[in-house]
Symmetry: C2
Subunit: 219 residues, 2 copies
DNA sequence: GTAATAGTGTCTATCAGACATTATAAC
DNA sequence: GTTATAATGTCTGATAGACACTATTAC
């Protein structure tokens, strides 16, 4: 028996199967000085419901490209590098039909969201218990869990800070991600081996100026 | 404006979009006394190629159900509880067309694979570098990484052993998953608080009989 | 008896956590 | 000078890792 690339092993062609629509939904997080971790939400034009930005996958499109497109179209945000979290596959989860949704996460400097639309986007605390459609609350929880694990022990892997920063700035970013205060001495001692001092000093601060560091390239 | 549940925000209906086929592929792992972690492979009837068992998602089907169906049909194995790993989404990854594949992992006692088909299934070491289609090597690597993280510090969470076992049996199972020897004293001391002694003893062994334990219910 | 494995005791090096001290800026 | 923050030093309690010793079986 020769292989027919357009048939699977049961002999059916691909189009013999009904196929699901595939969507992407993305939790875009950033830090807010007062509120800590906040998540980007967009208002749907049809029913006014706030939700995570998402879209249907277009023909032949990569998931990451669909995420980028949805963020550009619905929030006017670009340049992100989303990572997959989970596929939500309950056939009844979307009233519009059979829709699989691949949840994604990314976190960016808040300035990267400066271009976002005014009236149709907002930033809400990641822990807020307000109304969201479908599985979006679960997505946010998974996104936060993912980031907390990712940030443990590594100096700001997603560049929430610029290339140079003081250890205080680094610790405050990590505390916002972790959602709890971190021990000052221990934080410095675990991070410093992974940093390179620049020699330059911070200025305009209250007490003794702090040294500026940059991330040590892994390896 | 009222919401139309059968249109998305751009006004297209769901059927206006081309949809991908969605497949599942599963790395089913078990322990082999000699070879350590081994993975279940099936031979495709059309071209004789060995690969991870997989199938296309049927209309309205859950991913976990498709995994269960593929394992029953292609390997005569059932009763598994697969977990998602990753979606492979390269539009050109499958020569038969546009196919997204959701990779899954599970690990079971080897007796659970006792019913598997003779000529069309085999167990191969998870680290073997033999030829596999598509992204199946990546799936196995992710599966092993997932299980190693899952087994760290917890006594056999996926019940590779029965309800009762000695600490030696437990350590050997963990060593096979970890792919390296584990320290005897430390292993006992971290595991024992998570175990309940049954009072019964192992018998028929070489040296002093070992006490049998069962897992302590979490909490 | 010997060999083999189970289980326990103890020492050490490491490290998270806490606290104290010194250094250097703004005011 | 005082106040605030940075940076460093030191102590302590917990624990991974190593080793030794005792206990109990098969042979």
């Amino acid at each position: 028996m020769t292989a027919n690339p357009y048939r699977d092993s049961s002999g059916k062609t691909l189009t013999d199967y009904e196929r699901p629509s595939v969507a992407v939904d993305t939790a875009v997080l950033t830090l807010d000085d007062e509120r800590g971790l906040v998540v980007l939400e967009v208002r749907r034009p049809d029913d006014g419901q706030w939700s995570l930005p998402g879209t249907f996958l277009h023909a032949g499109e990569r998931l990451a490209d669909a995420v980028a497109r949805s963020l550009k179209d619905k929030a006017n945000v670009d340049g992100l590098h989303p990572r997959q979290l989970h596929v939500f596959d309950d056939p009844k989860r979307d009233s519009r039909g059979w829709v699989l949704s691949v949840a994604h996460v990314d976190i960016v400097r808040s300035e990267r969201l400066g271009s976002r639309f005014d009236g149709t986007t907002r930033l809400m605390p990641a822990g807020a218990r307000h109304r969201l459609p479908h599985d979006h609350r679960k997505i946010i929880k998974q996104a936060v869990d993912y980031l907390r694990a990712r940030y443990e022990g590594r100096p700001d892997p997603d560049h929430l800070l610029g290339d140079e920063f003081t250890i205080l700035q680094l610790r405050q970013a990590h505390e916002h991600v972790a959602g709890r205060p971190l021990q000052r001495d221990w934080f410095r001692r675990t991070m410093e081996p992974q940093l390179i001092p620049t020699g330059a000093m911070s200025s305009g601060t209250r007490g003794r100026p702090a040294e500026l560091f940059r991330r040590r390239p892994p390896g």
